[in-house]
Point group: C2
Chain length 496, copies 2
Amino acid sequence: MWLNLTPSRRLLSLRWSLIQYRNITLENTARKAAVDKVLSAFRSICGKDNISLGEAIREQHGKDESVHRCRPPDVVVFPRCVEEVSALAKVCHDHNLPIIPFGTGTGLEGGVGAVKGGVCFSLRNMDQILDLHPEDFDVTVEPGVTRKALNAYLRDTGLWFPVDPGADASLCGMAATSASGTNAVRYGTMRENVMNLEVVLSNGTVIHTAGKGRRPRKTSAGYNLTNLFVGSEGTLGIITKTTLRLYGVPEAMVSAVCSFPSVQAAVDSTVQILQTGVPIARIEFLDEVMIDACNKFSSLSYPVTPTLFLEFHGSERSLEEQVNTAEEITQSNEGSDFQWARDAETRNRLWKARHDAWYAAQALRPGCKAYSTDVCVPLSRLPQIIVETKKDLLESRLTGPIAGHVGDGNFHCLMVVDPNDPDELHQVHLFTERLARRALAMDGTCTGEHGVGLGKRALLCEEVGPLAIQVMQGLKDSLDPRNLMNPGKILQRGEL
Amino acid sequence: MWLNLTPSRRLLSLRWSLIQYRNITLENTARKAAVDKVLSAFRSICGKDNISLGEAIREQHGKDESVHRCRPPDVVVFPRCVEEVSALAKVCHDHNLPIIPFGTGTGLEGGVGAVKGGVCFSLRNMDQILDLHPEDFDVTVEPGVTRKALNAYLRDTGLWFPVDPGADASLCGMAATSASGTNAVRYGTMRENVMNLEVVLSNGTVIHTAGKGRRPRKTSAGYNLTNLFVGSEGTLGIITKTTLRLYGVPEAMVSAVCSFPSVQAAVDSTVQILQTGVPIARIEFLDEVMIDACNKFSSLSYPVTPTLFLEFHGSERSLEEQVNTAEEITQSNEGSDFQWARDAETRNRLWKARHDAWYAAQALRPGCKAYSTDVCVPLSRLPQIIVETKKDLLESRLTGPIAGHVGDGNFHCLMVVDPNDPDELHQVHLFTERLARRALAMDGTCTGEHGVGLGKRALLCEEVGPLAIQVMQGLKDSLDPRNLMNPGKILQRGEL
């Protein structure tokens, strides 16, 4: 870019950069002065032990599991209840300080980076499970409660919460990023499973998206605020409670592994199983690079070919029928016999291996970091996009094993990249853009479950168009007129 | 109220009413002048044959199937494509004319009444079914396409669209009111089944809520605009296309009728069937008053006691298992043997009788009109609320047979009322308010599927609280700053 400019343009550009730099520096100075001013107010709200200015703590709260660089907040607060969250938010609002909600830091799109500094609200101290209604299949949890903690709590009730993104994320964080994962093909994503939210807005106002304590299975009462906050990535408010739909633990579960001679055969089987209406609980694809990495990382010995991990839930009898149909289909596509995982321990080992794919991929190149793509396309386009993407990976000489929730048309290339090699980083960036555009050209989306965060803001605009972006910006302005809530995420307005 | 005022207050109140009246009259005069001015622009956009000022046409477009009185628009336009909708909206916007979208007029909450006059956009001429993707289980339809028309079109594809509110409503209208009905317990409501919308905003801007032509099974790309417009009742924009999720026609279906000695026994059976995890497709409750009315209206002869209509979908084998479990439960609650409806014709007759409940109720008192309540509560609260409500009906001496989608906790009292008896109307009003508050006290909602429209605006405020209402009002202001889109619905801002 720079080299294409005339000398006078270069000068102009340099001057513009200097003005920007001065503005940012002034902004930073003003913000840090504001932080100093509010500390005593923070202390009187949540006690001095629940406020941290330490560098290590701030750095820990400035990054998630993605390659996005750490952007530490100016201060981290650890409120203990919604009243404290509200009072702290009000102070931030009065002093124009950015507010960044923090759950477990297991996001994958840089969602917690304090790109404009400000106050990180770490919600781990609010970890109560409230109002379990086993007879109505619902429960309400505070933001410090993780997926695994909830399922451990539910162990003896015959109920479970199935949405499973792999990481032991906080449930309110999962609501904020509209997470899903391996079970979504059967049980839906957070969008279908959040019934109500308590949210603190940037000015400290506390709302309940469906009304306080309400939990009907369906409602047509006014605008669907619940699903506006689900997937809002902390940019509209701080989620301080979420009411979730629960499910009965199935009478029987069985998992199976099936190897295929080609990607096409594995993905064709997936599409056909879905089309036949088998209510499959999980159907996960791993390409030969991925299965090889998992074999090594988790001490397994599956054939190194494109593979499906499947899971069936139901009564003993319905399971038999589901399995028979699925096996018939995989065999007609030259799949291997199913390798079974019937008891809980073997099943858990299998799915742990699948969920450890992220670490298995990283282990392929020690010292490197992983970045996951996240496109999602209509089912029928899956074979073509996966085949084209594997070709692209080969041609680009990039390491990117593929794992995916193919039952939803969603798959990830786990790009393993040397963070100190700018050329490789650039190649990965170009590859992920090509992949996203390939998905967009096939009626798909650039993000099926990870969210937009920092890295996909430009792609979001390509995906929904500038007019829908304007509408989104209008909603943001309406709920957060000072742009204090997690600024710089989802929408692009010069906050880089 | 009036009688409680002091004489000077009465005078003040009278003067206020006169000022209001004068303002409304001035507003009406100005609006009618504006309508006169825009007619030639309308004609040049959609041709003179697609504009109607006739009284009969206007009256037909000023009311739905509810008791809300007819509020005819000033003019009805019949655009033929999204470009015409957009151009017409722009003209309305430039002249501050209210815009009221109209599908089939089968709503139940007065949603189409032109309470501030303006232009009714009747969308029946846009009736194309577009982009059927059988392999991906999705289709896109224009707003003139009804539920039955789509299912007729799909007849030979092995696919169907299950959401079924009874009436042959337009699918875009169903999206606008967040409709559901008898199949929601298995297949979800419009919220779960709309994948994308094309929407014309009040200023004529056309957006696609998930991006043009996109149809991935899941997405985390930005704010969930799709579910903001689903259920917005025409107050945020005009839905001109909806992309819907389709389902495979089940291998086998069977319906059954079961009579019970008491309401409690019927509703307990429902709750237990759901809790056991039977994937029941429909489970409808009719109280003894309702079944009696249906027997008479549809020439049936079911025992006049609380009754469940059930339907099971699945493979032949899974059906057997579902039915056995359900029968075991109903029999343990003293239910009768199942009366079967196995072939398509008998099943259709059964469900037609259920869907004709509305007319059957009206036939109980010829010359009267029906008004349907629509509360929805958590499953476990159903027995109590239905028993209390029946007691209330008896004590209030009101006719209100009960029919409901009890699998979702949603039921309707079909209030049959003499529209010329102000005392009875008042009694019905008081009863419906008591019922709604009973539902709110049980963590429920005042509307499970009919929407807020005109009659439930105050109850919505009680349900979600004034702060959530403020948020909703902010969203409305952001999308429709001139308050032109279907003014006076959902939110109350003096437009009565």
